[in-house]
Amino acid sequence: MQPRYDASMSLLTNLMDNSLDEGYAQAAARRPAGAGPRDWRRPGWLLLVGLLAVGLLLATAAAQARARASSTAETRSALVREVQARTTANDTLEKGLERDRAAVAATRRNALRLTSEGKALAARLATLEVVTGASPVIGPALVIHLSDAPSDGNNGADVDPRTGDAADGRLTDRDLQTVVNEVWASGAEAVAVNGQRLTALSAIRSAGDAILVDFRPLSPPYDIVGVGDAGAMRTSFLEGFGGSYLQALRDYGIDYSLSTKHSARLAESSGVMLRYADVPSGTETHK
């Protein structure tokens, strides 16, 4: 006997050919010949109960599915509402904080202006605030623009830093650390990377392929801005280790450009907080 050409699909063929329950055919065969098919419209309690069960099952499933869908949607919209409410509350708090900080600074300025000792303190405070990144800085600046090597087809700037695959021509946290340190060493008073002000406690690290400054991810290209005597900084940077480092980076296809700006404004660091305070001796404490 010739094997069926669809023998390998016998299971599927069987399913397609015998989709009707064999019980019906058997029941029909059991009936006395000539009796004819039973009239299905004839009232039958069994059928009634069976169809009642079918209807009940279908309706229950539908109700269940609807309840599940609505509860999911409810949870989601509740979460969205909460997120929005908290964001608004956060914004309000932040504004209040800004206002309070400005008020504190104004009060301090006024208080320190009264005595010559205070004036000296105020000058020292201003210097310290610049160095620690607690206050914004405006001044001439050296700007170093670094961009990843263009990888096949897409520029480094287009690649999502979290998902893009690691390439040779990609800046690492080490590169950025070195360049930033050299900018400090060449005499910068304040440094920022992509708008993130650096303080003595700032960290430049990497997580995956992204470079983080103070735990905030940066996306290429990178702009390192150092405020200070721009001309002198430029010379010092290029003659020092920084210049040769950038040249070495260029060998990997990482492009850089150096420029000076007459005036750049670096915002204060968002990470500065009050860690330690005490009341000077000999001052009256207000209770």
């Binding site: 989709s19 009707l20 029909a28 299905w40 419209r41 039958g44 079918v54 209807g55 009940l56 279908l58």
Partner: protein
């Protein structure tokens, strides 16, 4: 007509009473529905073929639902629950499709 009445009463009752399904049985409800649909389409086709039998219909419905739920339950215990439910849905789905095609041929002669 008593059959249609039974179906309507069942659906309306289910929608209005909203019987709560025990949590343990909830995963088997969708499979049970697919099995029930298979029995219903089989019954409809049998009606059109002229060989409908109420006993066969009710027994096949109850057995289909129970066996489908049992297979999935067994699969859950063995750790292959999702694969087995896929298998059940594929098999019953094919049967529903071919029965629906037979019904269509009966009704439209096409």
């Amino acid at each position: 007509m008593i059959a249609v009445l039974g179906l309507v009463v069942g659906i309306v009752g289910g929608l209005f009473l909203e019987p709560t399904v025990p949590t343990g049985l909830q995963p088997y409800l969708p499979i049970a529905v697919v099995a029930a649909l298979d029995a219903v389409f089989g019954g409809l086709r049998a009606v059109l073929d002229g060989i409908f039998d109420d006993k066969v219909f009710v027994v096949s419905f109850v057995a289909n639902v129970l066996v489908a739920a049992l297979i999935v339950y067994l699969g859950d215990q063995l750790g292959v629950g999702s694969q087995l439910s896929t298998g059940v849905v594929v098999v019953l789905g094919i049967r529903i499709f071919s029965n629906a095609a037979a019904i269509r041929r009966h009704l439209f002669q096409a």
